[in-house]
Amino acid sequence: MMKEIDARGLACPEPVVLTKKALDRHQEITVIVSEKVSEENVRRFAESMGCRVSLVRRDADVYLTITRPAHSDTAAQPDRPDVSCRPAAEPAQGPAAAVIASDIMGSGSDELGAILMKSFIHTLIDIDPRPDILIFLNNGVKLAVSGSEVLDDLEDLSGKGVDILVCGTCLGFFDIKDKLAVGRVSNMYEIAETMLKARKVIRI
């Protein structure tokens, strides 16, 4: 009878370790796994040993039938094969957003904080990679209205393709909606959505 290994629910690298042990003593085995990462690892391991692998799916389970070629000797291999226990990381996608929720950077001294913020925004022009989106909230919206000392930098950034979202509620609260000089008025739907879709959100 064919040797059967039930590796369902076992944590990585256990399924591969059991597969290896079974292959050391049997020519043909069936390994049952329930996780995608286990399936991948067992299949990859078996193939690396020169085995033939056939695969049957039953509900959430996968039955891997592994046949070892007569000449292959898995017992000569280490007992704990080198296995990656993490699913392949998906490449990071989406824009990088910086949320600027104040007109000063950090807390402690407001005067210093104002200087740091000016310095930060000016720096964004020259650094690589630049954020794709700047979101201005609360006191931060004051940076985007006429009279702001960073207006030229924000215009420069906008010209370089940085999307500048300015919270409309906040402009309204401070009664400076008519003074908006750069970027576009946005709402909480867009702001929340932008943050959640971003690959990275930096809060200033």
Binding site: I115, S119, H122
Partner: protein, 74 residues
């Protein structure tokens, strides 16, 4: 680089930069606080950028009020 063609005033401390900024603002002299450009070494991370033609006016305004370390052309 975006700061090309400008001059920068370098200071020994952030507080001197702040004082100079306040003084120039009071006089209405056009300037901008920016991080010290990478190619210039300075203990203080921020400096004041200005148009070269304002150099004389700025130097005389700050004279006796704030000490600065150097003026560089970018």
């Amino acid at each position: 680089m975006s700061d090309e063609g400008y001059c920068v005033l370098l200071f020994d401390s952030v507080s001197s930069t702040l004082l100079a900024e306040r003084t120039l603002k009071k006089k209405g002299i056009s300037h901008k606080v920016i991080p010290v450009p990478r190619q210039i070494s300075s203990d203080c991370g921020v400096c004041i950028r200005f148009r070269p033609e304002l150099r004389e006016e700025i130097v005389s305004t700050l004279k006796g009020a704030v000490e600065f370390r150097d003026i560089c052309t970018l």
